[in-house]
């Protein structure tokens, strides 16, 4: 007999993602991913000054504030064909790479590690053995027996107090939990240390962006950080040195903890390289422009069809026509109506709601279904990493090789690059991307110092808006993948604005040809050991770092999250 499992909501912060799966014979046979909240920010922007759009769009999402701010100014700058002082590019690059590092660390350790780590099992660990294991993997100074003993004591006190806090309602003892008590304890220790590590990333964003969580320093035309080597109130040498201190602390954590942990988890859960591939068309964009026009990037991006790296086609510059002309969004299965049939390009995008009930074969989501030249595409760190490998980007290749080699030696058999097309592979790719971001952060810091040293302190070019209609789009390889903002500006006011966000690519519903999206495809054939505790569904969905760009924060009465009914 088959069963239908509904998980709603699947995340809290990002508002409302609902996933329905049908399970038959112990595995998923059908899946629906549904955004449960209408994102109408596009309508708020109509008629406003394009220079204000970034401050408003960074409120779309509670997790991805910075990325919308950056993408928004890039869209308006593209419409104006505006050059950006390189100092502004470097400062923006540092903010977004630090933000990405923060996001990746928090996502892995605080949002998704507990899908794989059994905290209660860690109580049975031998801290000495845990330290021996940890020290055999990495020379991280906080892997010693004192730290592991303290962690165990802390955990005992915490669990003993009855306040499980972040660990409430975990699937402890679930048959899909496979780690030894020692590995679980090690993961708990690193969970705590990650809390310290993420602060360094947050400090960098705050130091450069003036404020966190909502940065204040970007502007259409550059950044509002005046640069001076001798003034207290602006970006000074002292502040730049402080940034370096935080960057170095992050570097240690990423290299000695995160990359190692992900290899270990991958080795222990090697069976999860078989599940979760889903849609294997991968779309990413290049990022971290090092010139004022946005034609030279530190990290490549582009399109890979059908997991075939040989067919990689790069996206090369801001305003790139290949990306610009390939994107459409369909609403056949989304709660919107268009004024004409078929999908629409974002410049022509419409945001007219048409709510029905949840209809399995009809409309069932507030997310539209984006396509790239008619095909569904997966976005995210995995897409970026595969593009890096395809393009011969050496840092990406080096870190990916390191993770795969470490995991292979722990497993005792070779794990190929193709293993990345999977649930656990998305986690590994995120760690690889995080290490690349760390390099990018350091490179931009150095580039900024060098450029200031040459006497160039420009950080802003004033925009002027022409009469008549212009349009432009901005892209950013955000922590969750390709983010694009599209705007039409008429007489200096916004006439249309559409955000095509990473989670729309990944979590969107069936498209105009009824093809399922990446979340839905990734769930097919996932094993389900216990329908009442669908941990496996959460593993696969969480591997995307789910985020619906419509954060609702209001606190509601509790309701049952998992519903199971026999079909």
């Amino acid at each position: 007999m088959s069963k239908r499992i509904t998980i709603d909501p699947i995340t809290r912060i990002e508002g409302h993602l609902r996933v329905d799966v049908e399970v038959d014979g112990g595995k998923v046979t059908k899946a629906w991913s549904s955004g449960q909240m209408w994102r109408g920010v596009e309508l708020i922007l109509l008629g406003r000054d394009p220079r204000d759009a970034w401050a408003i769009t960074q409120r779309i999402c509670g997790v991805c504030t910075t990325v919308h701010a950056i993408t928004s100014v890039r869209a308006v700058e593209n419409a104006l064909n505006l050059d950006i002082p390189v100092n502004a590019q470097f400062i923006r690059n540092m903010i977004i790479s630090a933000h990405a590092i923060h996001d990746h660390i928090v996502h892995f350790y605080h949002l998704s590690a507990l899908d794989w780590v059994d905290v209660v099992s860690a109580l049975k660990a031998d801290p000495i053995k845990t330290a021996q294991l940890a020290e055999s993997l990495s020379d991280w100074p906080l892997n010693n027996r004192h730290v592991m003993t303290q962690t165990l004591e802390k955990l005992k006190t915490f669990v003993g107090s009855g306040q499980l806090g972040p660990f409430t309602n975990g699937y402890w003892g679930h048959p899909a939990m496979k780690l030894s008590p020692e590995v679980n304890l090690l993961a708990v220790a690193h969970y705590l240390q990650a809390l310290d590590a993420q602060r360094h990333a947050n400090k960098i964003v705050t130091l450069l962006g003036s404020k966190s969580p909502h940065i204040q320093n970007v502007a259409v035309g550059g950044v509002s950080n005046p640069i001076a080597t001798d003034s207290q109130s602006v970006l000074t040498v002292e502040r730049l040195l402080k940034l370096k201190m935080h960057m170095d602390a992050l570097s240690d954590f990423i290299h000695k903890v995160y990359l190692v942990d992900i290899a270990a988890i991958g080795a222990f859960y090697a069976d999860w390289t078989k599940y979760g591939a889903g849609v294997t068309n991968y779309l990413s964009c290049p990022d971290f422009p090092m010139d004022s026009k946005g034609t030279k990037f530190l990290v490549p991006g582009g399109y890979i069809p059908n997991a075939d790296l040989a067919k990689y086609k790069p996206i090369t510059a801001f305003g790139d026509a290949y990306l610009r002309d390939g994107v459409e969004e369909g609403v056949k299965h989304a709660w919107y109506k268009y004024s004409k049939p078929g999908p629409l390009h974002p410049y022509k995008g419409e945001t007219t709601p048409e709510y029905t009930d949840f209809q399995d074969d009809g409309k069932y989501s507030w997310l539209k279904a984006p396509t790239f030249y008619g095909e569904r595409a997966q976005v995210g760190p995995l897409s970026s990493v595969l593009a890096g490998v395809a393009a011969g980007h050496q840092p990406t290749i080096n870190y990916a090789t390191k993770v795969l080699d470490t995991a292979s030696s722990l497993l005792g058999s070779k794990i190929p690059l193709a293993a990345l097309h999977s649930t656990i592979g998305r986690h590994a790719a995120r760690a690889v991307r995080c290490a690349v971001m760390q390099d990018v952060l350091q490179q931009n810091w150095q580039a900024l110092i060098d450029n200031i040293g040459k006497g160039d302190v420009a950080s802003f070019n004033k925009p002027t808006f022409p009469k008549g209609e212009i349009m432009g789009y901005g892209f950013h390889e955000a922590p969750r993948g390709l983010l694009s903002h599209w705007t039409v500006i008429k007489d200096g006011k916004i006439a249309n604005y559409q955000c095509v966000v990473p989670s729309t690519w990944n979590a969107g519903p069936r498209d105009d040809t009824d093809k399922i999206g990446p979340y839905e495809a990734s769930l097919m054939d996932n094993p389900i050991a216990d329908a009442e505790q669908p941990l496996e569904v959460l593993r696969t969905i969480h591997s995307f770092d789910p985020c619906l760009a419509c954060a609702v924060h209001v606190v509601e009465d509790n309701k049952e999250v998992v519903q199971v009914k026999a079909l």
Partner: protein, 160 residues
């Protein structure tokens, strides 16, 4: 002493952002001493962790759906707060609740926490509060000021 006042909510969704509007109004109307930090937390969770960490007092203003009359202000304190934020959703969502839980596990929980929840009327897509909710903002500000006073902090009314 270190005091953090955190306004949370999404200002793009009418009354969802009431907590943010309240703290903005507080700093518009009052001068606060240096030991008080006011944060527009938006819908972030972990991003505020650093500032909230180890504070002596944490005051939170937030929208709170408790099936009461719209505009109703509810004060919660101490043990009521973790229970209030407790979610059944999954073990690991990093909202305010999880930020607090993580701080707790780390031994860096703010020593005193008070939350003012305001019952919303509308979550429509707009940047302004509903008029009836906006009318309650001065009262929320008064609550925050009174709470500060109770812990010995004098918020000074700015000259009009």
């Amino acid at each position: 002493m270190r005091v953090v006042i955190l306004g949370v909510g999404n200002i793009l969704l009418t009354d969802e952002g009431v907590g943010v509007h309240a703290v903005n109004e507080l700093i518009a109307r009052y001068d606060l001493p240096d030991e008080v930090e006011v944060i527009d937390g938006g819908t972030s969770g972990m991003d505020c962790l650093d500032q909230v960490s180890d504070a002596d007092h944490l005051l939170i203003a937030d929208a709170m759906r408790a099936k009461k009359e719209p505009g109703t202000i509810t004060r919660l304190a101490g043990d009521q707060i973790p229970a209030f934020f407790k979610t059944k959703i999954s073990p690991h969502q990093v909202g305010i609740s999880d930020m607090l839980a993580a701080l707790n596990f780390h031994g860096l929980m703010p020593r005193n926490i008070v939350l003012f929840g305001i019952e919303p009327l509308s979550f429509a897509t707009a940047m302004e509060l509903s008029p009836s909710i906006a009318a309650r903002i001065p009262e929320v500000v008064d609550c925050l000021v009174a709470e500060l006073k109770a812990i010995g902090i004098d918020a000074r009314r700015k000259a009009a």
